[in-house]
């Protein structure tokens, strides 16, 4: 009886609700606090829907706001940028305008981070978009697919 109860307890603790973790600083942005915000759009797609794109994970965050709202996002992206193995960036007025980063593979998956602060180029478009993806698609394949 004790063994049975212990097994049940073990099963319960083994099973936990897990949010996809990339092991990057930007994970903090997807901890749930943007889900209820009226100035943000958060997208999470995993599994079957991404199969045509040869991706296993897609996360994005689009935030509308002021410079102050974007500071945190830029800070986290720049921190992660230090561990990128490939990158392409553009700066405007000392601020990160756009960034494309590729990180060391997680098992067989490529990992990409895209960032763009549209408000720096066009103040009327006061938004920042951040996209994180994992999958076996190469960058060229992704470019073709998402045209």
């Amino acid at each position: 009886m004790k063994r049975l109860l212990l097994s049940i307890l073990l099963l319960s603790t083994i099973f936990q609700y897990t949010v996809a973790q990339s092991g990057l600083q930007i994970d903090r942005l997807f901890d749930g606090h943007y889900k209820k915000q009226k100035n943000a759009i958060e997208v999470l797609v995993k599994g079957k829907k991404l199969e045509p794109y040869k991706l296993s994970l897609f996360r994005s965050l689009t935030v509308k706001g002021t410079e102050k709202d974007f500071e945190e996002l830029e800070k986290l992206v720049l921190k992660d940028a230090t561990s990128a193995i490939d990158k392409e960036t553009g700066m405007i007025g000392g601020k990160l305008y756009y960034g494309f980063y590729r990180f060391p593979n997680k098992k067989t998956n490529y990992r990409y981070l895209f960032y763009r602060n549209a408000s720096l180029q066009n103040p009327a478009s006061n938004e920042v978009t951040l996209v994180y993806m994992e999958g076996i698609s190469t960058l060229d394949e992704l470019k073709k697919l998402f045209k």
């Binding site: 097994s7 999470l44 995993k46 599994g47 897609f58 553009g90």
Partner: protein, 167 residues
């Protein structure tokens, strides 16, 4: 040897002592040990007098009842254990099933939180996915200008050809 001991033990008590013990039994004043002595006495050949018949009948009846209840208690305890085991097995199966279902759910997620509202409509979510990706891409005109600039600088970096004029 055990038989001898019993015989000596029973013989050691006088008849009056047994009668007194019987009286105390009916008054509810005897302890377990004394009741045990009485049972042994009643089942022994030393019990000859009919004045102990009533005691014998009562003790037999009580003993029967006691053993019946003991059996019932054992059966009830056994049933209790079986019920608990069955409940635990059912719970384990439910947990395993729930775990499997939730793991499957975790593998396939398609959700968007649009300005605070949760949306699980696949078409809408995929549209938002496309929008987000477009949002990270440079506008075409910027891409064109950037490419042109890249071309210019690349040309400047190339070595200048020297022409030897023999004239």
């Amino acid at each position: 040897m055990k038989k001898d001991f019993k015989h000596r033990f029973l013989k050691g008590k006088a008849k009056t002592e047994w009668i007194e013990l019987t009286r105390r039994y009916f008054e509810g004043e005897t302890n377990e040990e004394e009741e045990k002595q009485l049972r042994i006495f009643l089942n022994s050949p030393l019990r000859k007098k009919s004045e102990f018949e009533e005691l014998r009948a009562v003790m037999s009846f009580l003993s029967e009842g006691k053993s019946w209840y003991a059996k019932k208690e054992v059966a009830s305890r056994s049933l209790y254990r079986k019920a608990w085991t069955a409940a635990a097995i059912v719970l384990l199966c439910l947990c395993s099933g729930a775990t499997g279902y939730l793991v499957h759910q975790q593998r396939n997620i398609c959700v968007a939180y649009i300005y605070g509202e949760k949306c699980t409509d696949a078409h809408t979510v995929m549209q938002r996915m496309q929008s987000a990706l477009k949002g990270t891409q440079l506008p075409e005109e910027e891409a064109t200008v950037e490419n042109q600039l890249n071309e210019i600088f690349r040309t400047l970096d190339e070595p200048v050809a020297t022409i030897n004029d023999s004239h």
